[in-house]
């Protein structure tokens, strides 16, 4: 196991006392709070298409970010060199956000260990020989092509990274983490006499190489192939407002877009979210309890500590329909007095942290999926989605179904073409009229973008029925 403090000391010659001195420089202009984020990340990727391994890639990303908070103001600077002089220069740049002179010497820190140990893995995918990753990709290719002779092309990739971070704060915290992440992605193109359709699948998490067992490899391959083949017979999607049933797992992207972003503390502190002022009020039906949980072992959205060094946690956002909490970072809690939730995240040392989701899901209910579908007269059953997006201020959000079926008289009918669903965040969940007993988390492919920063996230959902939602088809 890599020990972060030892790693940075040995590889970059950064000592405990250097960090204390650098924090002192950070506050030398009178800032209230400072932190230093050291990062060393190796990212690997391998791509197979046309049955060729066309490229293997590796990037090393390393550097240090220094943040200084003075009231509502934040100064930030970074450097690509993990050497004391360069970080000192960054610290002085960031320090200038405050404009008084302060006599600060070194700031004492003490080393801590994360409260969680969520992703201790035996074999880092990074350490696995390329040949073994290539073998997995070849098996996916063969399995997908064997699914149906109309599967004409398979593109598949294996991407993994490990990130070592060390965070020192002016509150005396020194804490580090080693964060593995791996993902397989499969895309199939089906061709039936010129009718081209695609299907996408994949999965992963903060897992070791052994996670990708035979069953999963086959599942990823078959899933993408099946989606592409089903779409060959897809009809025009309906247009208008109708009952919508979302299947379990990845359709939880609904929660991410409809409520998750709108409940990030920065927007609520500034009064710019459609959820501003709704704490304690009804924003969903009684059947809905929505959680953000960064502490689920091995999940893509999980972290032992957030990128500000604080423990991740389980935050109840909506409890039986009532808005209970927001996702917090350091700056928001400093300004509002709220409790930290461990949701301060950043893409890399080059960007400053802000409130972000981890794994966001809805608790299961009592209905069976069969009952739910049987209760629909005419509607849509959506099981796979592409991306989504939200306008935080107006609350309008979209998410795009990539595999969906009509429901007619309580029965699942014909597949339909992809269609975007649109709704209003604070109202959409008030129309949830049934919640299934089949909560599932997604397979581990989600990436969330905010303000140009991408971070891995997870979502989860049981089967749910929404009494009315606008479906953006053509018929």
């Amino acid at each position: 196991m890599i020990e972060p403090l030892k790693f940075f000391t040995e590889k970059f010659n950064i000592a405990f006392s250097d960090l204390e001195a650098l924090l002192g420089i950070s506050l030398s202009k009178g800032g209230d709070y400072a932190d230093i984020y050291l990062e060393y990340t190796v990212v690997n990727s391998l791509n197979l298409e046309e049955q060729l391994v066309k490229s293997a890639n590796r990037s090393v990303r390393q550097g240090a970010g220094v943040r200084v908070i003075s009231g509502e103001r934040t100064g930030y600077a970074y450097c690509d060199e993990i050497v004391v002089d360069a970080i000192g220069k960054a610290a002085l740049t960031a320090a200038h956000i405050a404009n008084s002179q302060a006599e600060t010497g070194p700031i004492n820190v003490s080393a801590n260990n994360p409260a969680h140990d969520l992703y201790r893995v035996a074999h880092l995918p990074h350490d696995e020989p390329l040949e073994r990753k290539i073998e997995l990709l070849n098996r996916i290719d063969c399995t997908a092509r064997a699914y149906d002779r109309r599967v004409r092309e398979v593109q598949t990739s294996f991407a993994d990274e490990y990130k070592i971070v060390l965070i020192a704060t002016s509150e005396g915290l020194l804490i580090g983490d080693v964060q593995p992440l791996a993902r397989i992605r499969v895309m199939c193109i089906a061709d039936d006499d010129g009718n081209l359709q695609s299907g996408v699948s994949g999965g992963g998490g903060r897992v070791g190489f052994d996670f990708f067992n035979d069953r999963l490899i086959e599942h990823y391959a078959n899933e993408a192939a099946q989606q592409a083949i089903v779409q060959l017979d897809a009809r025009e999607a309906p247009a208008g407002t109708m009952e919508v049933v979302l299947g379990p797992g990845w359709p939880g992207i609904l929660l991410h877009e409809a409520v998750g972003h709108g409940l990030e503390a920065d927007f609520n502190r500034k009064g710019t979210s459609a959820f501003t002022g709704l704490l304690g009020q009804r924003v969903a039906s009684e059947l809905c309890t929505v959680i953000d949980e960064g502490t689920i072992p091995n999940r893509r959205g999980s972290l032992n500590i957030d990128d500000e060094g604080n423990p991740t946690s389980r935050t109840v956002l909506i409890e039986r329909g009532i808005l209970r909490g927001f996702l917090q970072d350091k700056l928001s809690t400093r300004l509002t007095g709220a409790q930290l939730t461990g949701n301060g995240r950043r893409e890399s040392y080059r960007r400053m942290p802000m409130p972000r989701m981890t794994n966001t899901y809805m608790l299961g209910g009592k209905s069976t999926q069969e009952e739910i579908i049987r209760s629909v007269k005419r509607g849509l059953y959506a099981v796979q989605f592409g991306g989504g997006q939200v306008d935080i201020t107006s609350g309008k959000f979209v998410f795009s179904a990539s595999e969906a079926y009509l429901i007619e008289e309580g029965k699942i009918g014909a597949p339909i073409k992809g269609a975007t669903l649109i709704g209003n965040g604070p109202k959409a969940l008030t129309k949830v009229v049934a919640v299934g007993n089949d909560l599932a988390l997604d397979e581990g492919v989600g990436t969330c973008g905010k303000d140009g920063q991408s971070v891995p996230v997870g979502v989860g959902l049981p089967t749910i029925k929404i009494s009315e939602m606008t479906v953006g088809g053509t018929k």
Partner: protein
Amino acid sequence: MTMNLSIDFLSDIADRSIKLGATDAEAIGIETTEFHVEVRLGQVEKLQEAASRGIGLRVLYEGRQASCSTSDVSSQAINELISNAIEMAKRTSVDEDALLPSREELAKEIIDLKLYDPAISELPTERKIEMALDCEMAARAFDPRIANSEGSACSTTIGKLSLATSAGFAGEYQGTLCGLIVAPIAREGEQMQVGYWADRHRSLAALESAEEIGKEAARRALRKLGARKVPTQEVPIIFESSAAEELLSDFFEAVEGTSIFRRASFLVGKLGEQIAAKELNIIDDGQMPGAVGSRPFDGEGLVTRRTVVVQDGVLRSYLLNTYTARKLGLNSTANAARGLAGAPGVGVSNFFIAPGVSTPDEMIASVKNGFYVTEMIGFGFNPVTGDYSRGAAGWWIENGRLAFPVEEVTIAGNFREILSGIEMIGNDMRFRGKIAAPTIKIKRMMVSGE
């Protein structure tokens, strides 16, 4: 410490890769100095400043390819970069189309495209803060209903890109960028609406004034107040210039070489065919002086050029890099896009729909009952099938006039029909980045609402 990525340094990396067994090598170096200030409600909220650099190396080993990149430029890290890339390449597959461009194809001289403006690199911090403050102030002062703000930001980037290949190419260019963005929030009753407006240019003089950007953002927030859903119906659609840019950006996905050779685009096999109304002309131009998407050479060292993609509605060219061109038996259009990591992809230079003759007002006046789309959200475009379905907001048009604001609806259709259904093209194109389009009128699309 940031000035050591000279072309000699990169040529040396390429040469050493060859000595260590690589058949071909290409080294890229990118150095940037970034500044970013965000103000909100008249106060500086965030200030970020940094200089960074990184190196990317792509090698070929007997027809096999691998790439490595690093932000560590120490000699030990460079040694590892080279040996890792070669060792990894030995394990990939032979791909006979994976080659670096030949010597004859490479740029012989570096043309000055006016990409660098000292007025940006010398812009004092105080002035940048002032620009952001002025911009937000203009938005907030515009109307009493502007009740809040997501803030305003001013960013500058000063960058240098250097490329050296074992085929003998060595070149570099510098560029500057300055951007100003603001997002005021309008409120009326229960409803809050945000309006974004931004501008981005390579020279300070080309940038729209802070005041104008602020006012336009305020107008855009205010005009959304009172927005409502409309009944589901099929009607003529007008895409305002900024929404038409998004349409064009989706079109790029379907016309770029990777989608084409993978046969993952509805435009496969359509070269020379009428794919759109004859009013439509689409061009990619890498040589426009001072433009954001201009560059003297592409990510593989080829001289950039002007490519007519669609002429009078006929598909004339795909956009290609060396690899996708070889896969299709065509020539590269010098659209190789290269970051530090990975093999080159395909990217736009300055990609635009040529302006037409109609004014936006004339276009609106031509519609009896239709939808004027000013904003879209979501990712509902499938380049394989051309199926298109996205969230939209804007104004309803009644009897040739903007009647009331609309939100929470979707627009859907197939891209083939969108292209062939173009009826009018506006005269209002202006570059605010790499992609630009004028206002466009489409015969009909499905609007899904109540």
